[in-house]
């Protein structure tokens, strides 16, 4: 399955195949760092705002797309909020990968992650964003498929996911 996380209210890029789109929603709460998604209800977040199953959803995906504004070289706050709430995708135990500590897998799927960033960016921000997505996917034992930058939402016209 493809998961598309976008901060665009009126996201309208064509998407093929089985997919789910997560769009801005005023009910969304921030992650409060309680780790109950590891110990109390392993695999699920305890915040009942309709976004408690992001980790489980990632476990069913082979592709994750973020379509969001690039903010200081990061995913935008909404997209980052969704990513943070998906912590339960990984098992709490540690493994050493590439000489660094990371988390053990909870699921077997290897996620291919792509990001379409929109908004004006500096070269420094673009470099940070590339490094960030590589680090995040190393962390979740997935791969980075494609990272693209568009000056505006309109410039994404013609792209399909």
């Amino acid at each position: 399955m493809k998961l598309i996380v976008t901060d665009l209210e009126n996201f309208n890029l064509p998407v093929s195949g089985e997919h789910k789109i997560i769009k801005p929603d005023s009910r969304l709460c921030r992650c409060v760092g309680c780790f109950n998604c590891w110990f109390k209800t392993p695999g699920k977040c305890v915040i009942a705002d309709g976004f408690d199953d992001i980790g489980a959803l990632w476990g069913k995906c082979d592709e994750v797309y973020y379509v969001c504004r690039c903010v200081y070289g990061s995913l935008s706050p909404f997209a980052k909020n969704i990513q943070d709430r998906g912590l339960a995708y990984v098992h709490p135990d540690f493994v050493i990968r590439g000489g660094e500590m990371h988390h053990r897998r909870r699921y077997d799927n290897v996620i291919k992650c792509s990001v379409l960033f929109y908004g004006e960016t500096t070269e420094g921000e673009r470099q940070t964003a590339r490094k960030l997505m590589q680090a995040a996917m190393d962390n979740y034992d997935g791969t980075v498929e494609r990272i693209e930058f568009f000056d505006s939402v309109e410039d994404m016209e013609g792209i399909s996911l």
């Binding site: 921030r30 992650c31 409060v32 760092g33 309680c34 780790f35 590891w38 110990f39 109390k40 392993p42 695999g43 699920k44 199953d53 489980a56 476990g59 903010v71 200081y72 070289g73 990061s74 995913l75 935008s76 706050p77 909404f78 980052k80 909020n81 990513q83 943070d84 912590l87 098992h91 709490p92 135990d93 540690f94 050493i96 660094e100 500590m101 990371h102 909870r106 699921y107 500096t122 420094g124 921000e125 470099q127 940070t128 490094k131 960030l132 680090a135 995040a136 962390n139 979740y140």
Partner: protein
Amino acid sequence: MTVALINASPKLSHSSSWALIKNTVGFFPNKTNVKMLDMHTNTVSENTVSELLAADAWVLFFPLYVDALPSHVLRCLMQLEERARGKTLKVYAVINCGFYEGEQTEVAFEIVENFCIRAGLEFCGGVGVGGGGMLSTTPVLEDMKHNKTAIIHELKRLAKSVVRGRNHGVKFKSVSIPRIMYKVGAEALWRINAVKYGNKLSDLGKRY
């Protein structure tokens, strides 16, 4: 001078960020006006904004979330970007992470630096702290004070840099136990927590 120590963990209490703040505050000389401010939620209150804008330096303390800033910290920085523009302000950060290697905070420092460039503020580095999981759950930081370990030493040097208005550079430190002990200790704690909530050990790996 006025220095704002900003607790930007989303946790209201018992955070590692708070443990680090507690261990930094004592390193400032009495004549420094140290303000302890909170940034736990998606917005910065008007009072806090005023305090921040009146300061000469900010030291942001926050946890690493998926190799970057927690979403609420991003939102707060976006709120502050316009308000802080044009101020003569130096920005430092102390970023703690759950993995052992403080180096894993490197990209998050870049994000803070990119914020500073956008807001016209001076990015002055800070400390990336590995092994953050230990800082709030054990009294180890208190002990570390006596053992004079790497993190405490670096926080002391950071306070000196802040007072002198110097760029500290980005330094990485970790807790003073071997990585394998950190891993074993943390994983034992996970299991105690899971059982406390009535789960079986095998539930830790539950799939949906």
